[in-house]
C-alpha cells in the first residue's frame, strides 16, 4: 500500500525542481536581451533592434545560431575534460537554487497541503550555497587548462587565484549575516528580517552596510563580473577561459554566467534585503487584513517583492558592468587581501560586541 501523502509530497518536490530548472534555463534569454539593451542605452545606442520589435527575438536567433554552430574541440586538448568542463560549470550554478527561498510557505486551497516556495530548508543553507556555488569555478579552471591554449590557461589561473582570494571575504560576509540573524538556514535568515525595512540586515547599523559592501564586492568577484572579470578579460586574453569553446559548450558557459548573476542577486536579497518581506509590513495595516490574512495571497506578494528586489540587483550588476573599467591583477589581489579581509575582521569584532 503506497502512502498517498508521500506520493503527493514527492510529486510536489519533483514539480518544484523541474519548474525551477526550466525557469533558470530560460532566464538567460531575456537577460541577454536586457543586458544588451542596457549596454546600448548606457552608451547612447539602441542595442538589438532588427530581429523582432525592439530586437526582442534576438536571444532566440542567438540560441539557434549557437545550437547550429560547429562544436570544435582543439587538436591537442584534453578531450575528456574539455567536453566535461562546461557541464561541471553549469550543474552547481543550478544546484544552488535548491536552498534559495523565493517566498514563504502557504496552504494550497482545497487540498489543505502546505506548499513551500523553496525546495529545501536546510539548516546549513548558507554553507551549502557558498560551497556548491564555489564549485562552478572548476568548470572555468579545468576548461581553461584542457583547452591547451595560453589564453585559456591564463584565464583559468586567474580565475583560481581570484576565487581563493574572494571566497574568504565572501565567507566572512556570510559569517557576519549568520551572527546578525543567529541561523545558518536561509529561510530562518529571512524570517529574522520580518516586519518592515528597518529590520533588514542592511540597516543593522553600524555593521550592516559594511557587511553588504564586503559581500557585494566579493560576489562580483566570485561570479566574474566587471570590474573583476579577469578570467575572460577580452582586452588581454582574447576571451579568457572560453577562447577555444564554440557552439553549445560556449553557451553553457554563458548560461552559467547569467545563472550565477541571478544567484548572487538572490543571495544579496535573502541575506541583506529581507528576502520576500515587503518594505512595510502590510499585515499590520488593518484595512488590508482580509487580503493579507489569506496565506496564498500573502505568499504571492512575497514572491512579487522578491522578484522586484532580485531584478533591481540584476540591473545593478549590469549597470556596474557598463560603468567601471576592469581592475588590474595586482589591484584585484590588493583589494581582496589587504582591504576586504581586515575590514571583515574588524566588522566581526563589532558585530560580536553588538550581539552579546
Amino acid at each position: 500500500m503506497i502512502d498517498l501523502n508521500l506520493v503527493i509530497e514527492v510529486l510536489i518536490i519533483i514539480f518544484k525542481v523541474v519548474f525551477v530548472t526550466m525557469v533558470l534555463f530560460s532566464l538567460p534569454m531575456p537577460l541577454t536581451w536586457i543586458e544588451r539593451k542596457v549596454a546600448g542605452h548606457m552608451q547612447a545606442r539602441l542595442g538589438p533592434w532588427r530581429v523582432g520589435p525592439h530586437g526582442l527575438l534576438q536571444p532566440l536567433a542567438d540560441t539557434i545560431k549557437l545550437l547550429l554552430k560547429e562544436d570544435i574541440v582543439p587538436e591537442n586538448a584534453d578531450k575528456f575534460l574539455f567536453k566535461l568542463a562546461p557541464i561541471i560549470s553549469m550543474v552547481p550554478a543550478f544546484a544552488v537554487f535548491v536552498a534559495i527561498p523565493v517566498g514563504d510557505s502557504f496552504k494550497i486551497p482545497f487540498i489543505e497541503k502546505t506548499f513551500t516556495l523553496y525546495i529545501s530548508d536546510m539548516n546549513v543553507g548558507i554553507l551549502y550555497v557558498l560551497a556548491i556555488g564555489g564549485l562552478s569555478i572548476y568548470g572555468i579552471i579545468l576548461g581553461g587548462w584542457a583547452s591547451n591554449s595560453k589564453y585559456s590557461l591564463l584565464g583559468g589561473l586567474r580565475s583560481a587565484a581570484q576565487m581563493i582570494s574572494y571566497e574568504v571575504a565572501l565567507s566572512f560576509a556570510a559569517i557576519g549575516v549568520v551572527m546578525m540573524t543567529n541561523s545558518l538556514s536561509l529561510v530562518d535568515m529571512v524570517r529574522a528580517q520580518d516586519g518592515g525595512f528597518w529590520h533588514w540586515n542592511i540597516l543593522y547599523l553600524p555593521v550592516g552596510p559594511v557587511w553588504f559592501a564586503v559581500f557585494f564586492i566579493a560576489a562580483l568577484a566570485e561570479i566574474n563580473r566587471v570590474p573583476f572579470d579577469l578570467p575572460e578579460d577580452e582586452g588581454t586574453l582574447a576571451a579568457g577561459y572560453h577562447t577555444e569553446y564554440s557552439g553549445m559548450r560556449f553557451s553553457f558557459f554563458m548560461l552559467t554566467e547569467y545563472v550565477a548573476m541571478v544567484t548572487a542577486s538572490a543571495l544579496a536579497v535573502v541575506m541583506f534585503f529581507g528576502g520576500w518581506n515587503a518594505p512595510i509590513d502590510f499585515r499590520t495595516i488593518e484595512i488590508l487584513t482580509p487580503i493579507t490574512s489569506v496565506s496564498w495571497i500573502y505568499s504571492c506578494f512575497g514572491l512579487f517583492w522578491f522578484t522586484v528586489k532580485v531584478s533591481f540587483f540584476i540591473y545593478l550588476f549590469m549597470w556596474i558592468r557598463f560603468t567601471l573599467p576592469r581592475y588590474r591583477y595586482d589591484q584585484l589581489m590588493t583589494v581582496g587581501w589587504k582591504i576586504l579581509i581586515p575590514i571583515c575582521l574588524g566588522a566581526i569584532l563589532v558585530t560580536g560586541f553588538m550581539r552579546i
Binding site: D78, F80, N123, V124, A131, I137, I141, L142, A160, M163
Partner: protein
C-alpha cells in the same frame, strides 16, 4: 534500504575515482578525480545525518584546497619523468606501510570497533547538527580546538618564514 542503495552508489564512485586519482596520467586529471572522491565523501556525510560536515567538506576541501592544488599544478607543470624521480625512494617504504594500514583498517571494521551511533544524541538534536557541533566544539572540546588552531597558526607562520628566508638568500647571491 534506500539509504543503503545510495551509500553503495556513493562509495563505489568514491572508490573508483580514488583509484583513478593514482592511476591518472596528468596531474590535473588526478586532481579532478580527487574532487569527485571528496564530493562522494560529502554525500556519505549527508547519509550519516551530518549536513554540516558535508557542507564544510565541500566548502573547504573541494572549494578551497583543491583550487589551490590545481593552481599549483597548473603553475608548476611537473613533467611525468620528474614525478617518477621524486617517487623513487618513497615507494619502498610506502607500499608496506599502505598494506599494513589496510590490514589494520579491515580488522577494525570487521571487529566493529568503530561503531559509534549518534554519539549519544537523540535523532531530533542531530537535525540541527550545526548547533550541536558548535556547542560541543566551543564547550567540551574547547581546549583541543584551540590547540589545533595554534598548530595551524604555527604552520602558517612557518610557511611565511620559509619563504622570507629563501628570499633573503636570493638577495645575498
Amino acid at each position: 534500504m534506500m539509504e543503503q542503495v545510495f551509500f553503495y552508489i556513493f562509495s563505489i564512485i568514491a572508490v573508483i575515482s580514488a583509484i583513478s586519482v593514482i592511476s591518472a596520467r596528468s596531474a590535473v586529471r588526478s586532481a579532478f578525480y580527487l574532487i569527485i572522491t571528496l564530493m562522494q565523501v560529502a554525500a556519505i556525510f549527508i547519509l550519516l545525518r551530518s549536513p554540516f560536515l558535508a557542507a564544510v567538506q565541500v566548502f573547504i576541501y573541494v572549494g578551497a584546497v583543491m583550487v589551490l592544488f590545481l593552481f599549483a599544478v597548473m603553475v608548476l607543470d611537473i613533467g611525468r619523468e620528474k614525478l617518477v624521480a621524486y617517487m623513487h625512494h618513497q615507494s619502498v617504504i610506502a607500499v608496506p606501510a599502505v598494506i599494513v594500514f589496510f590490514i589494520m583498517g579491515a580488522y577494525m571494521i570487521i571487529r566493529g570497533g568503530w561503531n559509534v551511533s549518534n554519539a549519544g544524541f537523540p535523532e531530533a538534536a542531530l537535525a540541527k547538527s550545526s548547533e550541536v557541533i558548535g556547542k560541543e566544539m566551543f564547550g567540551r572540546y574547547l581546549f583541543p580546538f584551540e590547540v589545533v588552531s595554534l598548530v595551524l597558526l604555527i604552520a602558517l607562520i612557518g610557511a611565511v618564514a620559509l619563504v622570507l628566508r629563501g628570499r633573503e638568500k636570493d638577495k645575498q647571491c
